[in-house]
C-alpha cells in the first residue's frame, strides 16, 4: 500500500519536472498559439493548480478508482488500461511460460551434463539470449520469420479479417477456446508466438543460468545420494528431489524477471504493433500524457508488488522450514 503511494509520488514528480508543456504537446500548433485554448486546456486537466494540490486531487480521485482522463485519447485512463492490459497480459504470460519451460529444462540438462558438449552449447545459447538486444532480435525475427519465410503473420493480435472472440477475459486465446472458435484461437497463437519468443529470450537465458547453478549446488547434497540409494529412477531423483530443492532461487529470479518482461513489452509491442500497455506507455510518454503515464506506472508497480508477494508465499509452500510471518 505504502509502496503504491510512494510510486504515485515518484511518478507525479518525475512527470512534472520533465521539460515540455503537455498543453503544447497535445493541442497542436494552431491551438497552442491561442492563449485561451491553452488556458482552457490547463483548467480542464487541473494543470493550473499548484503541484501539491494536483497531487492530492489525483489521490482523492484514485480512492474512487478514478485514474483521471488521458490527455491523448480523451478517455478515462481506467478504460484505456482495461483495454490494453489483457493484450499485454496475454503476451507477457505466454512469454513467461515459454521462458520458464525452456529455461528450466535447459538448465537441468546443462547441470546434469556438466562440462560436456551439451552443457557448453546450452551455456552459449543462454548467454546469447541474455546479451542480444531485444529490439534487434525483434527486427531480425520479423524479417526472417515474417518477411522471408512467411511462417507467421506480421503485426497485431489477429489478422485484420478475423473478428476478436467474445470478450470474457480479454485474452484472445482463452476467449476463443471458451467460445469454441478454433480458427480464431490458432490465428491468435500464430500472432502471439513470435513476439512472445522475442520477449522470452532474455528471461530464458536468465532462467537457464540460475537453474543450472541451483541444480549443480543441490546435486552435491547427501540427500540426493540417499534418493539414489533407494533405487529410484534418475527421472524421479532429478524432478522430485533435485528440482524441488533447487526451486527457491529459481522462483526468486522468476519474480524479478517480471520486471524484464514489463520493460521488454515497450519495445516488443511497438515493433510488433501489439495493442498493449507497452505501446500505450510509449505513446503517452512521447505525447506527454501525464495522467496516462502515472496510471501505467501505478499499474506496473502493483503487478510487481503482487508478483513478489506470490514469490514470498511460494517460498513457504516449497520449503516447510520457511514460516509465513
Amino acid at each position: 500500500m505504502f509502496l503504491c503511494l510512494g510510486v504515485s509520488v515518484m511518478a507525479f514528480v518525475l512527470t512534472t519536472v520533465v521539460p515540455g508543456d503537455p498543453a503544447v504537446a497535445n493541442l497542436g500548433d494552431r491551438a497552442s498559439s491561442d492563449p485561451t485554448a491553452v488556458r482552457l486546456y490547463r483548467e480542464h486537466f487541473g494543470l493550473d493548480k499548484p503541484l501539491p494540490v494536483q497531487y492530492f486531487v489525483y489521490l482523492g480521485n484514485l480512492l474512487h478508482g478514478d485514474l483521471g482522463e488521458s490527455e491523448q485519447s480523451r478517455r478515462a485512463v481506467r478504460i484505456d488500461l482495461a483495454e490494453y492490459i489483457p493484450a499485454t497480459a496475454e503476451l507477457a504470460i505466454t512469454s513467461m511460460v515459454l521462458a520458464l519451460l525452456l529455461g528450466v529444462t535447459l538448465g537441468v540438462i546443462a547441470a546434469l551434463r556438466r562440462n560436456r558438449l551439451t552443457d557448453q552449447v546450452i551455456r552459449v545459447v543462454s548467454l546469447g539470449g541474455m546479451s542480444t538486444p531485444q529490439f534487434w532480435l525483434a527486427l531480425v525475427a520479423l524479417y526472417v520469420f515474417f518477411y522471408k519465410l512467411n511462417w507467421v503473420p506480421g503485426a497485431g493480435r489477429l489478422d485484420a479479417i478475423v473478428l476478436p472472440p467474445p470478450h470474457v477475459t480479454g485474452l484472445f486465446s482463452i476467449d476463443a477456446l471458451a467460445a469454441g472458435q478454433l480458427d480464431v484461437f490458432l490465428n491468435t497463437v500464430q500472432h502471439l508466438i513470435l513476439p512472445a519468443c522475442v520477449l522470452a529470450a532474455f528471461n530464458m537465458g536468465l532462467f537457464t543460468r540460475f537453474t543450472r547453478s541451483a541444480v549443480l549446488e543441490v546435486l552435491e547434497n547427501d540427500y540426493v545420494r540417499t534418493a539414489r540409494a533407494k533405487g529410484l529412477p534418475e527421472v524421479t531423483v532429478v524432478f522430485r528431489h533435485v528440482l524441488r530443492a533447487a526451486s527457491p532461487p529459481i522462483v526468486t529470479v522468476v519474480g524479478l524477471a517480471f520486471g524484464n518482461v514489463m520493460t521488454g513489452t515497450v519495445l516488443v509491442e511497438n515493433i510488433f504493433s501489439w495493442p498493449g500497455i507497452g505501446q500505450y506507455s510509449y505513446r503517452s510518454a512521447t505525447g506527454l500524457d501525464l495522467t496516462a503515464i502515472v496510471g501505467v506506472m501505478l499499474f506496473v508497480a502493483i503487478v510487481y508488488i503482487l508478483v513478489n508477494m506470490v514469490v514470498d508465499i511460494l517460498y513457504a509452500v516449497i520449503d516447510p522450514r520457511v514460516g509465513l510471518a
Binding site: 533405487g231 529410484l232 529412477p233 522430485r240 528431489h241 524441488r244 516447510p320
Partner: protein
C-alpha cells in the same frame, strides 16, 4: 555356509585432475547372513568408498576392479538398470549425517513411501500402512504424526531412526550403516546401536557397520576388518581382533580408546596423521607412524597372511606375537 556377500580384491580409483587416484587397493571380506560386519579405520582409509562401490554410487569417473558377489551376482559388473533394482531391495544404506541425508522439503511419508511404491509397486494406502509399521519398528513415537512431519522437526536420533526405517522399507538383505552414530550424542548412540543389533537378529539382516570407533564394534560386530590407507590391516572375529590385536595399527586404535572401567588409564594416540590417498607412503602405508617399523617396511607392501582361526593380518613384523602366545 556361503556368505551373503563376498568381496574379493576390490579396487577403486577416483578420477582427479591429476589422473586416477587409488582409494581402495585390494580389499577382501565376507559378510554372512544375520551378521554384523564391522569395517573400521580412520577417515580417509576408504571405508565409505568401499560401501559406495557396492551400491554403485561412486562419484562420476570412478573405476572399480575386483568382484563383489552377492546372491550369485557380481555387484560391480551389473548394468545400470539391474543395479538400480538392487538398491533398496537387496542392499540399503544409512548415511552418516541424518540431517543432510534426508530431503529437507519432502514429508517423512514421501521419503518413506516413494521407493515402496516404485520398487515394490504398492498402492498409496498399502505403502502408508507399511511406512507406519516401519516407524513403529524403529521405535518412533507417534508414527502417524511423524509421517506428516518434515526432517527439521525431529532430533538427530529420531532422524537417524527415520533413515534406518527408509533403509529397511524394501526389506533388503544387507544394510550398510556408514558411521550411523558419529553425528549423534553419546546417549542417543546406544539406542541406535541396540536398534541395529535387534533388527539384525529379528530379520536375519546382514549389517556392514562402518565406523572409526572400535568401541562401538567391540560391542556389536561379529567380525571386524580394519582398514588403513585403502588396504586391510587386520581382519577376523571381533573377540580375536579386539582381544589380541596383532597388527600395530589395530593395537594403536585400541590403545587410543577411552575405557569406561579404567578411567585412569593413559590413552596412547597414534602419532602422525592418517595417510592421504594423494601421498600414500611406499611399502606398508602405516610405516611412518609405526613404532615397530623396519627398513623393509618402506619397500615391500606386506601381504595379508592368515594367522590363527580365520584371522588375517598384514604385518610381517608381528610385534604382538608374544601376547597371543601368552
Amino acid at each position: 555356509m556361503t556368505p551373503l556377500l563376498s568381496v574379493r580384491d576390490l579396487h577403486v580409483w577416483l578420477d582427479t585432475a591429476r589422473g586416477p587416484l587409488s582409494i581402495v587397493d585390494g580389499v577382501s571380506f565376507d559378510v554372512g547372513e544375520g551378521q554384523v560386519f564391522g569395517l573400521a579405520g580412520e577417515s580417509g582409509s576408504g571405508k565409505t568408498i568401499t560401501a559406495l562401490a557396492l551400491l554403485g554410487l561412486l562419484p562420476a569417473g570412478a573405476r572399480t576392479g575386483g568382484v563383489a558377489i552377492m546372491a550369485g551376482r557380481d555387484l560391480l559388473a551389473m548394468r545400470t538398470s539391474e543395479r538400480r533394482r538392487t538398491r533398496g531391495r537387496e542392499i540399503a544404506m544409512v548415511f552418516q549425517d541424518p540431517t543432510s541425508s534426508l530431503h529437507p522439503m519432502l514429508t517423512i511419508e514421501r521419503q518413506l513411501t516413494e521407493h515402496l511404491r516404485y520398487q515394490l509397486g504398492l498402492s498409496g494406502k498399502e505403502a502408508h500402512l507399511r511406512a507406519v509399521a516401519l516407524l513403529t519398528e524403529v521405535r518412533m513415537p507417534d508414527p502417524e504424526a511423524a509421517m506428516r512431519g518434515y526432517p527439521h522437526q525431529f532430533s538427530g536420533g529420531m532422524r537417524q531412526r527415520i533413515q534406518i526405517a527408509i533403509g529397511l522399507a524394501c526389506e533388503p538383505r544387507l544394510l550398510i550403516a556408514d558411521e550411523p552414530t558419529t553425528a549423534l550424542d553419546v546417549t542417543v548412540q546406544a539406542g541406535i546401536l541396540r536398534l541395529l543389533r535387534r533388527l539384525c537378529k529379528e530379520k536375519n539382516l546382514a549389517v556392514i557397520l562402518i565406523t572409526h570407533d572400535l568401541g562401538v564394534l567391540s560391542a556389536l560386530a561379529d567380525s571386524i576388518t580394519v582398514m588403513y590407507a585403502g588396504r586391510v590391516a587386520e581382519s577376523g572375529p571381533t573377540s580375536q581382533v579386539m582381544g589380541h590385536a596383532r597388527h600395530p595399527y589395530t593395537r594403536g586404535l585400541i590403545d587410543a580408546l577411552p575405557h569406561p572401567e579404567a578411567p585412569d588409564r593413559v590413552l596412547i594416540p597414534i602419532a602422525g596423521d592418517p595417510a592421504s590417498p594423494e601421498s600414500r607412503p611406499s611399502g606398508c602405508a602405516f610405516h611412518p607412524r609405526c613404532r615397530y617399523s623396519r627398513p623393509s617396511c618402506q619397500i615391500a607392501i606386506p601381504p595379508l597372511i592368515p594367522i590363527d582361526d580365520g584371522r588375517e593380518m598384514a604385518c610381517p613384523v608381528d610385534p604382538f606375537m608374544a601376547s597371543v602366545a601368552r
